[in-house]
Symmetry: C2
Subunit: 422 residues, 2 copies
């Protein structure tokens, strides 16, 4: 397509999305839930069609020589469809946040003022290869009363269009505007660029993917962007920590699922217990297959278990069985280190000290700050938000896991009896 066609297509999409946002914004929860459950049924009924469209993407990707890991993420399996259906059921079961009224108070003027939770409007999702994001994101946006425009990876275009078709057929069956969920039907990069200029129509952009994608979207977008940057999570082991518990928590944080953003990437150990604790934890980590890069002191204490860390290793998001270790003088040095190398994702302290637990909770700036618990708990499900659409590591609008509520906003409502301002 040429530039004029792209602009015309995008403008048509955003206009349709804005109109559809009014429809979904006013839809009662019962109908939204029925639609979500029926989409699940339709995914199963149309499994053959979806797998066939996905096979086209897989064939094209293989021809292009795409890596096995990428192919794996691109593939939709029967199990993958079952997972999508399960996800739809879970979202249908969540409480509808729209319409909640809070903080209603009579003011001295006589008016009664409160806040009503309302959808954001139109959300643009930009994501990479995994086609299941199409259904997962659409379900969350729809349940929160938003219209959504989906722009997945170009290699997944047939899969994404197939999934959107199934979804839109259910909407059409209920005589509901199918533009509530739209997939960008072409893969030219100019399509994204043009969408990111539509601040009059789109209320929020959520990029899901690597740091490069998020930075590129932030640079180009005039629309507010919810950013989920990397997770460089730390654990500070205080001088009086329960050492057995510490080893258990550290192993869980690093080893249980090393490739995710809430996995542990850096260990800070109080110098008073370094001699005793470091060899123990290093042994446990080595047994679990973890590569350890450490400061000079920790290398001396642990012989060959710890390799010397280079300057660039501090603050690295390994996403793998690897981490850095540093011996620190006290809580202040630990917090300075976290301030310098952390990514505002998840930071934990292991301690028996009331005072230091409180200082850590108050003073450390991260989306989740924890005492004596694994970093792996920073997750919408674990925190009780239900399904999550991402974990925000910037502070505007949402900080930490984003559930349905974070896909809404609150407007002020006023009940009066003819009051005027003096």
């Amino acid at each position: 397509m040429d530039r004029t066609q792209i602009e015309a297509t995008v403008l048509d999409m955003v206009n349709k999305a804005k109109a559809a946002a009014r429809v979904i914004g006013a839809m009662p929860a019962a109908l939204k839930n029925t639609i979500l459950l029926e989409v699940g049924e339709a995914l199963i009924a149309q499994q053959a069609f979806i797998l066939a469209e996905n096979a086209k993407d897989m064939a094209a990707a293989e021809q292009k020589g795409i890596s096995a890991a990428m192919l794996n993420r691109l593939q939709i399996s029967e199990k993958g469809i079952k997972d999508m259906v399960q996800g739809l059921r879970e979202v249908a079961a969540l409480e509808d946040p729209v319409g909640e009224v809070s903080e209603m108070r009579r003011r001295p003027s006589g008016i009664t003022v409160g806040r009503m939770r309302v959808p954001l409007g139109v959300i643009l999702m930009i994501y990479e290869s995994r086609p299941n994001v199409t259904i997962d994101s659409a379900a969350l946006c729809l349940k929160a009363g938003n219209a959504v425009i989906l722009r997945g990876g170009s290699e997944a275009i047939n899969s994404n269009l197939a999934l959107a078709k199934v979804l839109q057929e259910v909407l059409a069956k209920h005589a509901v505007d199918p533009a509530i969920v739209q997939v960008l039907s072409f893969t030219d990069r100019e399509g994204i660029d043009c969408l990111l200029q539509q601040e009059e129509y789109i209320d929020l952009v959520i990029p899901r993917g690597g740091e490069g994608l998020i930075r590129a979207v932030t640079e180009k977008s005039r629309i507010p962007v919810l950013k989920h940057y990397k997770g460089v999570c730390h654990c500070f082991v205080d001088e009086d920590a329960d050492q057995e518990m510490a080893i258990r928590v550290i192993l869980n944080a690093k080893v249980q699922r090393p490739g995710v953003c809430n996995a542990l990437e850096g260990l800070l150990v109080h110098r008073e217990i370094a001699n005793e604790f470091l060899p123990k934890v290093a042994t446990a980590l080595k047994e679990a297959g973890v590569r350890i890069l450490g400061c000079h002191r920790s290398c001396l204490l642990c012989d060959e278990m710890i390799e010397p860390a280079g300057e660039s290793d501090w603050g690295t998001e390994f996403l793998d069985l690897a981490l850095v270790v540093r011996v620190v003088a006290d809580l202040d040095e630990a917090m300075d280190y976290i301030d310098r190398y952390g990514s505002k994702h998840t930071e934990i302290i292991l301690t028996r000290s009331y005072e230091r637990s409180q200082r850590f909770l108050r003073e450390v700036d991260a989306s989740a700050v924890m005492v004596n618990a694994s970093t792996r708990f920073n997750d919408g499900g674990q925190f009780g938000l239900g399904a999550e659409i991402g974990i925000s590591t910037t502070k505007l609008h949402a900080y930490g896991p984003m559930g349905l509520k974070e896909l809404t906003t609150r407007k002020f409502i006023v009940y009066g009896a003819g009051e005027t301002r003096a």
Copy 2:
């Protein structure tokens, strides 16, 4: 200054601000309040110095041939200083939002999760000529635990630096990092451009000024921007409205202070009462000196009181004794009009109908939606937020008047006892 010097100066400022943010973020409310009250005392004690520095700006502005209105906004009077002091006292009296913990709940895993209200970090204020914004904004940012960088109009540079000096001397007296409040000390435009790239250091930009300023900042900024666009506020007079009350509310909304963003700019009248109501309201508005531009029908009904409106008049922010009037068929047509021409600021319905009041409250998308009350109530003070730093007309983070709470965010905190994720 050349580009390299500007970049070095800006980088120095943002580094200092980030360090200062940790200091103010952890400061107890009592000390913050003492500082605010002492700044008030210092403003009075150093009034001669402030007025002398302001006189330099005034002289330079006069030489440049700046308009009388601009000169008026630039001038600091003794009354102006008293108002700043009063503002400081009001902010000191507000409850400190920082540290509030809410939604603490035990989760099935055993961990206890809640949310702690924390400062945003570093806020950049960009504003136009009025130097009182320097003190007002600094007070709100400081009370909410944030460091602030102020970039006022270049014509007010001496006034702003003088005010900041008074403020910083109070900070220094308490041995507190003076970089909590910094004024950009030079007026080159590249200074703003460079600041707007510092997303690693600055958490939020708040432009205060005309639409042009806000659009320019939004286009250039990589940092989230809180936008206060124009206020094109409407009133829909329903067929069964109390007509005397309607005239009273409409007059208040249009006439009480026509130059502000929550003043009425458009009147929509149900066709069932147009014959009776329009001549009455037009007479009242004309008596108050209001120019009325109307649709064909309203012109017919009101002879010479209403001039025909041109297409470009609909949706205009007059900020003056003028408004547009249109006769509409019903609530749906009124809401379609508001959706098309409104600016998501303030929309009101005057009605006796329960059903239509509820539909209007639910379905109209604006930062404040009201039944039977004047648009003029959309204000932080009137809504009970205390002093406000602006009225957001976009939906991310804040929608409507922004008080202290809107200058903070919430992080998750977790109390555990060694829990790990299964």
